[in-house]
């Protein structure tokens, strides 16, 4: 083989070796352990601090039992407390830590209730331009029991 071709092939082989070398330390060791992802991520995610306490933790008689009873029978029962009130694990372990205030903006309610073509026709939806004169939804609607105006 001619010298220039030999050099070209040496470069090509070096590029391939370089690729394999870079790959060997960029692809994590535990990749593919369980599936097409880094196996270690399972353990890492498990170690993350718990943020959400779950709706049931609000129902204690000494806590928010009354509003919980209203909510649990309302049509909003599929929307968990923490969906609007934010993660509350810290508040549950130490009641002096207050969770973030509930999100009661029009846009937040609108994520479910603004009119969208793709939503079922019988699902309550409003056109934000014509409904409610740009007032906050909670001005008229009770989010814990939506039709309890």
């Amino acid at each position: 083989m001619q010298p220039h071709l030999k050099r070209a092939f040496i470069i090509l082989i070096l590029v391939i070796i370089g690729f394999l070398f870079v790959r060997s330390f960029i692809v994590p060791g535990s990749f593919g352990q369980y599936g097409w992802y880094r196996g270690d991520s399972v353990a890492e995610l498990r170690e993350l601090p718990v943020g959400y306490a779950g709706s049931a933790s609000c129902s204690d008689v000494n806590c928010h039992n009354s509003v919980y009873t209203i909510w649990v029978n309302s049509s909003h029962k599929t929307v968990n407390c923490e969906t609007c009130h934010g993660p509350s694990q810290n508040h549950v372990t130490d009641t002096r830590t207050m969770p973030t205030p509930a999100n009661d903006t029009r846009e937040f309610c609108g994520m479910c209730h603004f009119k969208r073509t793709a939503r079922p026709a019988d699902f309550p939806q409003i056109d934000p331009d014509t409904h409610g004169e740009n007032l906050q939804c909670t001005y008229c609607h009770n989010p814990h029991k939506p039709w309890f105006l």
Binding site: Q2, P3, H4, R7, A8, F31, R116, A118
Partner: protein, 390 residues
């Protein structure tokens, strides 16, 4: 425009927004130009068509210029270009897309080697002629090996021919594979056909030859050199032949869909008669195939009148390039405008300023021409064009 006005009939919720934008139209378009330009150059390099020789090396540079930007539409569309290499680090073999990185790299190596071998004589001569940084550049391109004896060049040529023989199937594979990505989507009746790879390939060759004609004419005009009519009309002849193959396959697909009239025919009819009627019948078939087809026949039967014939070839080439873009549009956008429920349609509205917009698409499409200009400064392919004229 409110989304309700863009939708007709029943569609699934996640279909309302069209995800694959104009950038994904560019992806098969640019890859097609690469494959087409390479195959045009191999008409000389492999099949020994001497009349193509003046543009053969120029065609290789064109292929490289477009190949270098071929991944850009995808990387811009997906965002996070730094993660693009992961498709090669951990390819998930159940996805057709996972092969792209390897096929692309393999093809890039072939094109680079092919260009290097066909320009090596010039590179070595330049390395010996120039001083300073130019000498360094050409010497490194020559890999500091300056043997350009008769025997060495002959061996190079033999090796380059072997490479081009591998190159043709890999060019066909690169682009046929892009067709397969669409053709393999069974949920979409407009895409799912085993003909798709070969249709993509034929339209790629057509667009590649047309682009080469346009670039050749532009280069001759810019350099104020006479056009080699033999080369030009021979390219026009190949364009005509591949145009016939292309239209035959495209029509075959539509006709068999019509004849079979499976459950999806109603939505396909609606797509063709309403959603993409203008771009399909108007641009893709009439302007992109029928008009150039007639013009090219005229070019072949007319005697003398070189100026007029050149103009007709140029117009045909422009129309073909636009027509093939319309074909990619009709496939990529058209396929997304019908719902997988087969009873509804969506509408794609292009935006100008956005990551998915027309502006980045234009930049990506202009980029290869800039790269090509730079390449022709480093490796001028003009010698072949001028040599033939003397």
């Amino acid at each position: 425009m409110a989304i309700e006005n863009l939708i007709w009939g029943y569609i699934y919720p996640n279909e309302a927004e069209i995800q694959w934008s104009i950038l994904i139209v560019l992806y098969p378009y640019i890859t097609g130009l690469v494959a087409g330009a390479f195959i045009a150059s191999s008409l000389y390099h492999v099949f020994g068509k001497q009349e193509i020789k003046p543009v053969a090396r120029f065609a290789l540079l064109t292929a490289l210029a477009f190949l270098l930007v071929a991944t850009m539409p995808l990387l811009t569309h997906l965002g996070h270009p730094e993660r693009g290499i992961e498709i090669m680090f951990t390819p998930h073999l159940t996805s057709a897309m996972s092969g792209f990185g390897y096929i692309y790299s393999f093809y890039l190596i072939i094109v680079l080697l092919e260009i290097w071998l066909s320009f090596r004589e010039d590179i070595v001569k330049n390395a010996l002629k120039f001083k300073g940084w130019k000498k360094l550049m050409y010497s490194s391109l020559a890999l500091f090996s300056y043997d350009i004896s008769e025997k060495s060049l002959h061996d190079d040529e033999k090796f380059a021919r072997k490479l081009a023989i591998i190159g043709i199937p890999s060019a066909a594979f690169l682009h046929g594979y892009v067709g397969f990505i669409f053709g393999g989507i069974k949920a979409n009746p407009w895409w799912s056909t085993p003909l798709m790879p070969i249709i993509f390939l034929m339209s790629a060759i057509v667009s590649g030859i047309a682009l080469l004609i346009l670039l050749y004419l532009t280069a001759s005009w810019l350099r104020k050199k006479a056009i080699n009519y033999k080369t030009l009309f021979s390219l026009a002849h190949y364009l005509w032949i591949f145009l016939i193959l292309d239209v035959a396959l495209e029509m075959l697909e539509i006709i068999s869909m019509k004849y079979e009239s499976l459950e999806e025919i109603e939505i396909i009819d609606r797509l063709l008669s309403d959603k993409i009627a203008t771009t399909f019948y108007g641009v893709q078939l009439t302007l992109g195939i029928f008009v150039p087809f007639v013009l090219l026949i005229l070019v072949m039967v007319m005697k003398n009148r070189e100026k007029l014939k050149t103009l007709m070839v140029a117009v045909s080439a422009i129309l073909v390039v636009i027509g093939v873009f319309a074909m990619r549009w009709n496939v990529v956008i058209g396929g997304q405008e019908i719902s997988k429920s087969l009873s509804g349609t969506m509408t794609y509205v292009p935006v100008f300023f956005s990551q998915e917009g027309v502006l980045p698409a234009m930049i990506i499409l202009i980029l290869p021409f800039i790269i090509l200009t730079v390449l022709t400064f480093i490796l001028p392919p003009w010698k072949d064009m001028d040599a033939e004229m003397e």
